[in-house]
Amino acid sequence: MGSGNDSILDMYLYETNTLLEQLDGILLAAEEADTFSEDNVNEIFRIMHTIKGSSAMMEFNSLMTVAHRIEDMFFLVREKGMDVVPEQTRPDLFDMLFQAVDFFRSEIEKVENDEPLSQSIDHIVNKINSLIDKIQGNPAAPAADIPAAAESAPAESAAAEETSLPLADAVNQDYPYGIHVFFDEGSGMENLRAFMLLNGIKDYCGDFISYPDNVETDPSTTDVIADQGFLIWFRSPEDREMSLPAVKNGGSVREYQPVDAARPAPEAHAETHDSQAPSAPVSAEAPKAVAAPVSAAKPAPAPAPGQQHAKESLISVNLAKLDQLLAVVSEIVITESMVTSSPDLRGLRLDNFTKSARDLRKLTDDLQDVSMSLRMVPVSGTFQKMNRIVRDMSKKLGKRAKLTLIGEDTEVDKTIVDAIGDPIMHIVRNSMDHGLEERESDRIAAGKDPVGEVILSARHTGSEVIIEIKDDGQGVDTQAVLNKAIRQGLAAPDHEYSQKEILNFLMMPGFSTNTEVTEYSGRGVGMDVVKKNVADVGGTVSISSDWGKGMTTTLKIPLTMAIMDGMEVSVGDSMFTIPINSIQSSLKVNAGDVIHDPHQGEMVKIRDNFYPIIRAKELFCMEQGCDNIEDGILMWVESGEHSYCLFVDELLGEQQIVVKPLPSYINSFNVKNFGITGCSILGDGSISIILDVTNVYTAAHNIY
């Protein structure tokens, strides 16, 4: 792809991702209602149409083909209404659509990572085709349908074409209920695998036929099975039902699907052509004669649903530009206060100036608020994704569960939204996997609704956003956690731990209560990663649990990274900023309170615990500053597992500051390792150095 296409590609990726997210939302809502409203159908049709068009333009053929087929299907649904989809095929329809969304997502990801697109779209196209057949009330794969697929994806569908024709012919009238089995791609010796599968089925049911039927003796069937899959036909749906476990557990089975044969097949074909062709352009698209009017009519309905939607009054802006804007605005705010509080004005009576200065202050405040709000995005996008996870997991784990979202429109800084997506997903998975009871009977016995509930809520409190993930499952077995912590050497066996301390073990690296490793959790890389990710954006995680009633994980996250509340302290002439959320308290001590250890280390006892003292002056090798512990002040700080007292000269006060990264030249001296993370410019134009409490501790530790 040439570099000139990059902006087009960016556009394409952005647009497609947005559409897929929209589609996911529609599907989840529709599955809930078990039907598609007319609006939904139009919307999906429009989305597929757009994806098809733009993918074709970008020459992503696999995407285009799948989108095209789904568009065809929804064209049918749109023409005839949702009633055309039989009740029992609806779950298949939803599953197929979710699969398609996943397929699109994975392909888009490949495009983003510059990887080649997958070529094997047969199974998904086949699935769509078979659904279309069902919708048309024409269960056998009709011949007319195949050329349409072939037209859109000649290479892929060529195989499908061969498949369906002989398969349809092969159906024995007495065995109309089939299972279509695909083996893992490239598994080899498909005929023998098929033979073994047949042997397995014999354990459940003896009356069936297969296509190809002579798998054991004829090695040439290998290719047929690899290409078109393997078909087993039964006399009755009950037989088929009984045999499913054998297929499910068969070796190398990639996927299987039940198929129903046409009875009587030839008539169905005729019907397709005669009565359905005008109203079903999908199947009629291939015959050239019909194709002309249909394709002429086709573009017309597409823009129509688009118009129904209010024009989006949104534009997408590069995040870097917003950062730049925010930087300039914060400069204006600082400069404004430099002008209005200039020492040159001292002692002068300037009524007009003061009035204008007040107006200016108000406007700059507004400007700052607006520019900050530009970076704010609602958390709904992240929350909506959890819907999908809960749905998929509840299907997989066989636990019924619903997700309740509260406060989805709470707005948070864009960088923070990006950072908390994974942690939230992890916690939701934990709740689904270990939180909710294994069996519904346990829930009923505990007097709970058999359907589990996970509540995801977000709300603001001042400068923080609080995100809670709450489940009404069994809660945390604190005794089990403690036992495990002791086994892993994280806890001392003879110590009394409070419930809060025990729950904190859950967030220690390598801790997992689950004895089995499941697909979703139990690998022991879990809550510690969550904690780290949240800490990276300046937030904290806490867990509370009520045995038998469920657990709640609370994330407290600052609204934005660019602005934070800091405590200004001074050492000599220099000013330092300590993030407010890592400060426990400040205290004055007498020389007598300081306890010395043999290595000249100093400690102080606060509330029955000893904390080391780190002198900022010594750590930073500064010339000025207090040496006498009684002249200065101790800042008791805590971050992560470190808690200590930082000795500084003076406490200057709390201030909201704009964080500025250090110049890269300064960073090349690795000052970050000494806890110097950034600067901020104070109201009078002076610079304060922002300290990172964790790294200050590590640096001091390495020195002493």
Binding site: A327, T335, S574, F620, V671, I681, I687
Partner: protein
């Protein structure tokens, strides 16, 4: 007019003739400053600002020649003392030349800014000894007889 016409329809050979008539000397503007009795020059296009009114904020845990950072119109700019960098005795300097090196703005503390000069490129000669003055990429004799040392900003920042 006649001449322009002539030029418009001049052949390639003739064009060479015309350009030869106006001998063009490639020059570059340099900012000359002094430090410890020596004259240094920096390409003027790299100079962003000359500042005498600033407060240096001390930054811990950096080499001593990095005196700290200043607030230059809301930007945090590190300050390098060229005397300390070259291993000379420090002195109270007030003049700070902010230069752009590879997109990073860095302030250099100098004794005094002298003048701006146009230096013909061919007048800049290589430094005779490699072990001579560090961080000097060329030398040039100025009209007033002084010798300008061209400062290599890259070397100033990175060893």
């Amino acid at each position: 007019m006649a001449k322009t016409n002539e030029l418009m329809f001049a052949t390639e050979a003739q064009i060479d003739e015309y350009t030869d008539q106006l001998p063009e000397i490639a020059t570059e503007k340099y900012l000359i400053f002094s430090s410890d009795g020596l004259m240094y020059g920096i390409k003027a296009e790299l100079v962003k600002d000359i500042n005498t009114d600033y407060t240096i904020t001390y930054l811990p845990k950096v080499p001593s020649y990095v005196r700290g950072v200043i607030n230059l119109r809301g930007q945090i700019v590190p300050i390098v003392d060229i005397r300390l960098r070259l291993g000379k005795m420090p002195q109270d300097n007030f003049c700070c030349v902010v230069v752009n090196v590879d997109g990073n703005e860095v302030g250099i503390l100098v004794d005094m800014v002298e003048q701006m000069v146009d230096v013909p490129l061919e007048a800049i000669l290589p430094v005779p000894t490699s072990s001579g003055h560090a961080m000097v990429s060329g030398m040039c004799t100025l009209a007033d007889g002084h010798t300008m040392l061209e400062l290599d900003c890259e070397l100033l920042l990175h060893d």
